[in-house]
Symmetry: C2
């Protein structure tokens, strides 16, 4: 399986392809603990446990750096000892390959904390 | 009216007083654009509009600094151009005077950006 964390986000414009459902499930197998929430716009979501607030804000900043470097911006919810990340592609209202790449990169960042 | 932003959070332990409902509404008048969400545990919530992601993460970090300095930690939701803050007191499952103080301090931080 391709190591998604080593890939780079491509430009995502209106009309860029959504990842088909069966492929989403296949890609999900290569990720650690992410779920797909299909309740509204499909989103890749994971809640990370941190030891304290300092770690939570550190992790949040690293994800923000990733977001800026990839020009792809997740929703980050920061609480004491817990950070939730939601990746989806606003312009195509769903999941692009970029979201799976960024999820894999998020795990890599978390594992290197 | 007391300038809440100049006050400091007091220790909040299990058994510390919740702000009574009528007093909550009075304190809310002294804040700018905050709402109280009573759908579950009462929380003070405000969504701040920022110009871009850089500003969003800057504001998030300043609120995190406030949280650490007051030893009172909100839920912060960071998105491109938008940061939502939720203050409530976990130990008493509702609104303590600390939450109103931190809401006022959050506005002060935002206005100084």
């Amino acid at each position: 399986m391709t190591d998604l964390s080593k890939e780079t986000c491509s430009a995502c414009e209106i009309g860029s392809p959504l990842v088909p459902h069966d492929e989403q499930l296949e890609l999900l197998k290569g990720l650690d603990g992410w779920i797909i929430d299909n309740s509204d716009i499909s989103k890749l979501i994971k809640e990370f446990q941190l030891n304290n607030y300092e770690q939570s804000i550190k992790f949040t900043n690293l994800i923000a750096d990733l977001a800026e470097s990839q020009d792809h911006h997740p929703k980050i919810t920061l609480e004491w000892g817990r950070v939730s990340i939601e990746w989806w592609s606003h312009k195509i209202k769903g999941l692009h390959m970029n979201d799976f790449i960024c999820a894999a990169k998020s795990d890599e960042i978390f594992n290197a904390l």
